[in-house]
Amino acid sequence: MATEASHYYVPNPSLYPFILSVGLLLMAAGFIFNINHYAVGLWMLLLGFLCVLYVLFGWFGSIIDESESGKYKAWEDRSFRIGMIVFISSEVAFFAAFFGALFYMRNISVPELASFDPNFTMYKDFLGTWPTAGPGGMVLGMEYKPPQFTPMAAWGIPALNTLILLSSGATVTWAHWGLLKDNRRQLVIGLFLTIALGILFLGLQAYEYHHAYTEMGLTLGTGAYGATFFMLTGFHGFHVTLGTIMLIVILLRSMKGHFRPDHHFAFEGVAWYWHFVDVVWLLLFVLVYWL
């Protein structure tokens, strides 16, 4: 190891992190101004987004160049792997917050609202069953009347989506086998299928949302059920989108001949991410749609 030390690749100074931070600052401030109805907001948001986009291309571009010019060896590779695992763990914690909210509302706050002392309760006919849009009432000076809505059934599109995501997990693994065997065709086809399944999933999800909003009376504002449903599936969908974009990058790189059987952290990182998104969906399917 001692000889390897001098070879740990310390990248040269780079302005990308700084620009990225500025971009995020602009996006955050822009978003805030926007939701508070200041016109500059949109422009700041756009400018920030451009900064972020620029950095994404530049930063990842330099990483790809460094990788292809052989600067990353086993030691650096290990850093990336550990880093990716830790990063995915933090994502797990993020979803845990929303699952926690679901658990809390469903098992604690909703039943509690229905179980106050009958002499004094303000929710005389609230049953506290799940799914619910809540008992209604005045809150912060706004009257909220729980809307009528149809909860999302598990065994239609959601079940189909489960199937789709599970098979996409299989295809990405199949692509990985291809890469390990240096079978480029299998790699590219596997990735292509995975991306197609991912996009199909997103399309169905979008259709489902549309349906919910237009016909089922189910929106973000539909009480506890609507909030947890849309936030959980929405953040999941957002992660699928990111995963799909990353897969597309990997596909393009594969087509350009990047990656070797013994050196393809980028591929694996994205594949792990994809599996993580899969697992979250399984939990969603069971806890949000089914039970």
């Binding site: 509690e112 609202l113 106050f116 004094f120 009432g137 005045m138 912060l140 000076g141 706004m142």
Partner: protein, 389 residues
Amino acid sequence: MALKRFKAMGAAIALAFWSKVAYAEFVWNFPKPVTPLAEDTLHVHNKFMLICMVIFLVVLGIMIYSIIHHRKDKGYKPANFTGPSTKAQVFWTLVPFALLLYIDFILMGIPAYHSVITMEDTKNNADMVIKVTGMQWRWQYEYMDGDAKGIKFVSNLKTPQEQIYNQAEKGPDYLLEVDNPVVLPVGKKVRILLTSNDVIHTWWVPQFGVARDAIPGFLRETWARIDEPGTYKGQCKELCGKGHGFMPVVVNAVSEDEFKKWAESKKAELAAASAVAEKEWSKEDLMALGKEVYEKNCSVCHQVDGKGVPPAFPPLAGSKIVNGPNFDAEGKLIKDSHLDRVFNGFRVMPAWKGVLNDVEIAAVVTYERNAFGNAMGDLLQPAQVKALR
């Protein structure tokens, strides 16, 4: 070294003590407990503090001994042990650990267990129930059963703005005085239900050993059995916006007889107030009462001069809403009209229908329409408000 610090600390404390003899009972510990719960809490607190003090002194003592004796400039040669090496040493390091386990879970754990159980025993043998509703920034009390059943009123800070802004001498009960204290009988177990109209507040009376959150949309409960007549003061304890420091709790504990008498007179007072809602009011009377109601309830946000604190609290002077109609051609309340805002509230603006009576609402609306340079000239009759209920 550390000793020196302690001298300094002692000096600071002594200074504090010396200047505070006037309030001696307030200085070092909880104020005098007047309920069984507060009594219990005080005992547990004293015991825990004592235990902690002893642990602290032991740890400090060992450290100071070491600091004094094991010094380089005294030529002390350092040892080089890094952990217990013999069985006996291991044993002696485990002893303090076991001792601490004992302290945590037996010495402190058991009394703590009992006080939790007492504290949460709100329903059994309760003699009466009151409901306390927190709102920005006042408390509303409602008697749910017994002699006082049906009595419902709001309790506002009484300290005038001039005292708060140092334009007048501060009274002895500065910030701890209200216009309508809640009255409770001594010797009765009072079950106290809590809720809130807007954000979270905490109803706290230190001498009762009681503090419980008032959470919007939820019911919480606690209890108190006051042993001695007297006036007991507390404050809202959960940050609830700009008036958080200005929503005191004042409880008058009186004998049962006095309580009955008080309930009678309060009921009569409230009945009289609702009777006058039927009669036709003159503009002068409405304006006079309206000014009073306004300054007590509305000026915290909209300011005495009606200029508000934009953008958070809109001005009423020149407001489109205030200078607009309340009722449409068919005599129905217009949505987002002046009366609708006051009656039903909107976002941060509280709904006053549950807090003020018909006369007060009519008066304050009339006042707003004809003050701060607004000149609508019209007036609202209490009967018109009553019709909305």
